[in-house]
Symmetry: D5
Subunit: 114 residues, 10 copies
């Protein structure tokens, strides 16, 4: 469902940061909604993500029961599969529950940093 | 008392940050309550900490007399024992006493960073 | 238990604001601790509150099960009884529970404002 | 569905402010989710709102298509019907769409302010 | 060009605030672009402004040469003509030129405030 | 030296706020430069101040020895003489000297506020 | 010890605000230093306070044992005696002790506000 | 169209950062204006960019339809061609669309960093 | 005069940060008081500093004439002598004098960082 | 004109940061004043800069026409000549002109960092 468009500067190692402060899913344990801010940062290879399709992709989690840690890793995996980037990281900062705030950060890269 | 759940992405080196701004214990010298914010950051191996049990674990310090430095190190040791993480750090920022603010930071790792 | 000292400027209508960001009590429903910031503002008549005794008075709520609304009103009543001020207000801002934050504000005065 | 509990201080004119930063509904025109922060302020008469039921009540809007202006007024009407407060105001600040941010504020009171 | 929709709560005196941080016009003297943030606040009578049409209306100023003071008053006049509100104010905060920042605030109301 | 242009909306009581954070003069006692931020707010009658001429007018103080209080009142008098506004206030916030910060606020109006 | 200079604009009702963030005195009970920020606001009649002498006057409290409430009122009385202003207020915000912050505000005026 | 002036310190490796918060272009897909802040950082070799010409150069994008990623890379290429710097980076932070914010960062350098 | 207590975790390389925003000394040149914030960060070996004794130690500077640079280095030397830490740094940020702010940072370590 | 005093800790590699937010010079092109904040950071060898003489030195630029880039490099050269430091950097952040803000950063060191 994630759409892409061609990166017109494939030879330059540059980065794109996308902040989505309106992510929401459902806690699989309590059935209560969770809210969070996703920050996606990637170095494109041949493809860039189309923002409208990203927005619709993230809305699929709106009524889905899933833990923070799994949501973070699954979104990263889906984006990596669709974009085949040189490098990507995903930071997911969830709002407080029971006075405790959780942020999960995962990353992917094809080769050691240079 | 700390409960865990299985990390479903054990092969990925990713991090989890948990902020607990409602930590309180008692000063062993004066008997007065202390307040602080704990920031736990770890790279899970096989296990992740369950947040509700973490909250209950930290509440055990509510009426306990203990120094800042010892509380910080003891909580780190307990979390390391329960989670056996690849890496963990604990930052404990206590509120001012006598116009002086103290922050204690300790960390654990199984091997040198890569 | 609240101690007072004599107001040396009883003829001047001046105000004293006291902020206590380390208030904690227990939720009577869930048994979980609550945290809040109390802001007491008063115009003294003959007496001022002694700060050390105020601190010890507030610590009595540390392990007490009580609702936000009742704690706020009870503390106001106790302070009014001890200080007999010209005017007093109490603002109690509690930290978020379930993504919802509550602030209760109550006030007392002996006569209409001038 | 909104539950209440008895106000134990019905003779005192005091106020309760409740902030809900996790409100979300659906735009009836585009089908896209909207996000906002609700701030409810009221002076209770005989009843106070129970927070858990308020949270569940607001979750009913999660998948409902409704305009900002109507959601704000409807929630105010429902809360007034359930609580019969002396006074109530509702401020709903919605996040930006097309670079434009909207905040709707409505209020109710039984008699002129004193 | 400004479109409206019916206010479903015409009997309640409530307010709508709309913030547009992406306003731009052209300085008639220098030909250089100006940038500003418009804050529209109004109490609707029978009609509310449709946001998409407001956005398109404001884009008409993008390549128009006009002074700050005149733009502010003209936009207010156009909105009042289209909405016939009970009350409306417009605050236009322009970004600095030559180290000097200007904010123009104008308002309209059908009757004295109550 | 202050230039003006015609107010095209003389029948509307609206306000213009101008912030000048780059005001500098010289302390007549020590010969050291002083720095401050001027905030001019006025309700125009027939004339508005032209910003470029205001900037040049204020630069006349750059090498002038004058006390804070006198500079504030003199600038207000000069602006009132040039603009004949319905109302004007001038707030001059000077940067700290010897750990002490001073802000002088003066205002003018032709008739009581309505 | 407080020196003054002539107000050159005695017919205009304007205000002067002076912020002194470096006030320090000694707690008469514990012998420990206290720290605070004083904000003096006054409408001058015939005299303005000379800032250097104000600074030296406040330094007299550096090693003096005195309670917050008394220091605030005494400084106000001394300034009123020296300046004979139309109106004056003093806000003294002291830094936290035992997690509790106190602000004392007192004011003087020769006649009701207009 | 980009003008330059000679760098008088060509032997020193120093940096120049230029922030342009008033960049605007048009979305090629929707025809709607986009807004962003450009941050240009470079280490000059023989030439520095003249700011007025930079401002006029950026205004050429005001009515141009172009994607974020392409605008960022094209501006970087044009600046590199005109200035032949030792090093240059361009960070373009665009304002939110559909609740999603994008920042593109690209850089150029003649040789590995030292 | 600086007292210490035993570090119960001598084998762990952890850090303690202590912030003292209420440091004051006297300028040896002008006799005027100076104010600053000290930030002490250290990795303990066998001993930790007792906070009350640190507070009393710093109060010895209250009426002492000493330059910023010397005070910073002397305090560092005294703390190193008393604690024999693995590593220590001291950052002293002094408040503005004549519009100029100074921060002195010095550090000590027994061996190169690992 | 820059005066120095002896560094009493010449064997310790420590740093001194001096922030001067009140720098002003004149644009050589337009004759208009420019304003900026200078941040000087250095590791002293045998000499430290005396602050009063630094202040007077910087005032020499008050009525001097000079470009940002040249002023920054010239001040750095003058300070290096007077202090012969181990290391020095100068960051000059100028206020916005035409909506564009410029910051120039230059540095000097006698040998590679350790």
């Amino acid at each position: 469902m994630l759409e892409t468009f061609d990166n017109q500067y494939p030879d330059r190692r540059y980065s794109i940061e996308i902040v989505c402060p309106e992510f929401t899913s459902v806690c699989p344990k309590t059935g209560q909604p969770d809210f969070g801010t996703l920050t996606i940062t990637y170095v494109p290879a041949g493809k860039c993500v189309e923002l409208k399709s990203l927005k619709l992709y993230l809305q699929q989690y709106r009524n889905l029961g899933i833990y923070y840690e799994h949501a973070t890793n699954r979104i990263l995996d889906d984006l990596v599969a669709a974009l085949e980037p040189r490098q990507m990281s995903l930071r997911a900062a969830f709002s407080a529950r029971g006075g405790i705030t959780t942020t999960v950060t995962a990353s992917y890269e094809t080769s050691p940093k240079t």
